[in-house]
Symmetry: C2
Subunit: 457 residues, 2 copies
């Protein structure tokens, strides 16, 4: 007897789950119905800044798999169809065809919730004016590109200085815009400690990007025809021909909340390690709408990142298809770049460690991505946190030029393994002059952290 | 009462040990006498190919610390002085001043042996002819540069296709030479499995470098004035205006052997984890003259690499100075490049696994260093070995373009932690389109390895 799987959300987590389930079970065993309210499936939201910036010329390059490709694998994919209710007891979802407005119920044996995240959009005067853009979906990206194509002026304001903000600052700089980043905090990249964020600030200023810090946006000012003309903050006005909102995202879990499913303190769905929604054996959730276990702090976090969503989908698809897999958690690794500056972090920041009740020491060093004598040796700063007494590695942050960011992977693996900074010092990392100084920068930081642990007693 | 530390060898391991010991104990507590038979201290032999190739313009850039700098730290450094005998029972070394020929005994309380490695130089007719060069020391490098400066012809033969061989092939290509690499094996880079070595072969051929494989050098042919004119092999002759020998190195342990100190099956000194020579509480050894524990196979190996030598020196200096440190072992990580091709390995090759009695599966995948849609996304091939049944990661080899080599560090840390390929799949690695596909190539290989482990049963 055939079962029916219903998938809500046609992006990374949902369609990875559907595809993996289909690999394990054929259409005779498992019917798969997937609902997507947008125009696209399986696209790389992370790639939008590079499409807007012009490095990726075509929108379709960001689409890993089209609706037609999914359908060719016997997935009954219903585009522009939004699920508006989940009836957990009745094992059914209510879907609305966005074109016709028609609504209909579909029953399920197994349900996957992959509703993603929605961008934070403050309710401010003028926020919906023409020329103000989010960059969450391909439609958003196209709308922004249309604005850039039709705008004469060359002044852009980016609201928010996290990953999306700095990447959009790069994209608009590439497009020839004079960019100002308006940031509520004192430093950009609040995913870093402020001392490391300061390095990003200085580098961005050096690239000619205006940095308006400690600035809370109060309204978007418009001209006579209603189009954006400036962004007003509590500390000044910034003229703008285009405004990009990159403030961050929240889990899109209204549907789940109404259905009575368990949400965590960050608003994301709570699952077990097999990505089943807690208390519900036949409902899975993954991607940007769930909270994940932080293996370093032992607490749940919300991290919207395609790489996690893909892994979730893989695990969910295995579970739905009768296989087995788990997602053990994250250590909070993230990398980004703004022009030639690379930014990376993993594990805990100082404030995370404090919040988790951990006592720690820090060590910050400067080194280079290759042997100092090798041409083009580029500077990087590495900050490391280690637990007091135990010396356990707690986190690493890196800001530097080419060759800096992916070094954070060394720390990501070491964190996962629960290594001490002493153990990190002894790691056998790849060494040759074009690739590293004889002591890799991560090892140099670890050596300093070892000393700091010893001194702290 | 002051103790005397004698150090034999003034390069990375010896002088790192001396410096670290000095940091811990002042001249009133510890007298340090160091002997170096060459003209230089603390230099980067790994940097010689880049000096020869012209990327590093000045020899002195390769010198981390000069004799004068060491002396300024109260190290009694005796240059051009070779230790010719160690009297273990009498706790003394016999040193010879190479200029005068004078010999004298110096007693020690503690001894550090850091005699390094010597290049393999086959005893063949013509091998000492002008125009034939090794590249082990700065003097070697200078002699080669002198030859390059005075040679009209532009044909070079490199004997050996390991790290030194391929790096010298790049260097001579940069210098405008037509390069042929003569290799005893079927594929270059015998530190890789042959299937991965084949990728290096093809790439080097594509760069216009001649690859003479399965070719055993039988003699060096000279012209009327005794200068090199060609390299003869059992399968043909290769005209050469200059010949570089890059066949590899062996531990320089004649002195230790004569002193009755314990050597391993690769000819290197055997130490404990604190780098003390086994059975001798007051003798340490480190750098290219020792064997190290391979943490994956559980067996001793000989690896001549500056990064290990520096770590050994650090550990030894701590021990000598009354501190504490250990060198737990290696996983066999190495990275290299030849022009824009990057080559990396860590852990065991297939033949290493077989020799260690391990049953394994392999998985080889192709991926890119950045998101496939990101401009300049460069191909890389990743091969992974995992133990049968347990799924424990055993080794990784990578051949690819920019951004490939240092990814091996992910595997190096995972090997050190004893992770399974299942655990590797779940690693939280840095993801953003400029830095990685949504599944990092190492994770893609791990996914395939997981399947291979399951199938092998």
């Amino acid at each position: 007897m055939s079962e029916r799987l219903v998938v809500i959300g046609g992006d990374a987590a949902g369609m990875s789950a559907a595809s993996q389930a289909r690999r394990l079970k054929g259409p005779g065993e498992l019917e798969i119905v997937a609902f997507e309210r947008g125009h696209f499936t399986s696209f790389s939201a992370c790639g939008i800044p590079y499409w807007v910036g012009g490095e990726v010329p075509e929108r379709d390059q960001l689409i890993a798999r089209t609706p037609e490709e999914h359908r060719a694998r016997d997935i009954d994919l219903r585009m522009r169809t939004e699920v508006v209710r989940i009836d957990v007891d009745g094992q059914a979802v209510l879907a609305r065809d966005l074109a016709s407005g028609d609504e209909y119920w579909t029953t399920y044996d197994k349900l996957v919730i992959a509703t993603g995240a929605r961008p934070i959009r403050p309710t401010l005067p003028g926020i919906d004016a023409p020329g103000v853009h989010g960059v969450q979906t391909l439609d958003d990206g196209q709308a922004l590109l249309d604005t850039l194509g039709s705008t004469k002026g060359r002044r852009a304001v980016v609201v928010g200085a996290g990953y999306i903000g700095v990447e959009m600052a790069e994209a608009l700089t590439h497009r020839g815009y004079e960019v100002t980043v308006v940031n509520r905090g004192a430093e950009p990249m609040s995913t870093l400690d402020p001392d490391m964020g300061r390095l990003v600030h200085d580098a961005m200023t050096g690239m000619g990007i205006g940095m308006a810090s400690n600035a809370e946006v109060t309204k978007v000012l418009t001209d006579d025809d209603g189009r954006v003309r400036a962004v007003a903050t509590d500390s000044g006005e910034y003229p703008a021909d285009v405004v990009v909102l990159g403030i961050g995202v929240r889990p899109e879990t209204g549907l789940a909340r109404e259905a009575g499913l368990p949400l965590g303190e960050h608003g994301g769905l709570l699952t077990d390690l097999a990505m089943r929604v807690r208390g519900h054996d036949n409902i899975w959730a993954g991607g940007d709408c769930v909270e994940v276990l932080d293996l370093v702090s032992g607490r749940e976090r919300h991290i919207a990142l395609g790489t996690h969503a893909n892994k979730h989908g893989q695990v969910i698809g295995s579970g739905v298809g009768g296989g087995y897999g788990t997602f053990p958690g994250v250590v909070g690794t993230a990398v980004s770049k703004v022009c030639d500056l690379e930014i990376a972090r993993t594990g805990l920041r100082e404030k995370d460690a404090k919040a988790a009740g951990l006592q720690y020491v820090t060590a910050t060093i400067q080194s280079t991505n290759s042997a100092g004598y090798y041409p083009g040796a580029a500077l990087m700063t590495v900050k490391m946190l280690a637990e007091r007494r135990s010396g356990r590695l707690l986190g690493v942050q890196i800001v530097g030029r080419e060759g800096s960011a992916k070094r954070v992977d060394i720390a990501a693996v070491a964190l996962t393994a629960g290594m001490t900074v002493d153990q990190v010092v002894s790691l056998d990392l790849g060494y040759a002059p074009p690739f590293s100084p004889v002591w890799d920068p991560v090892l140099v930081a670890a050596r300093k952290a070892v000393t700091a642990v010893r001194k702290a007693g």
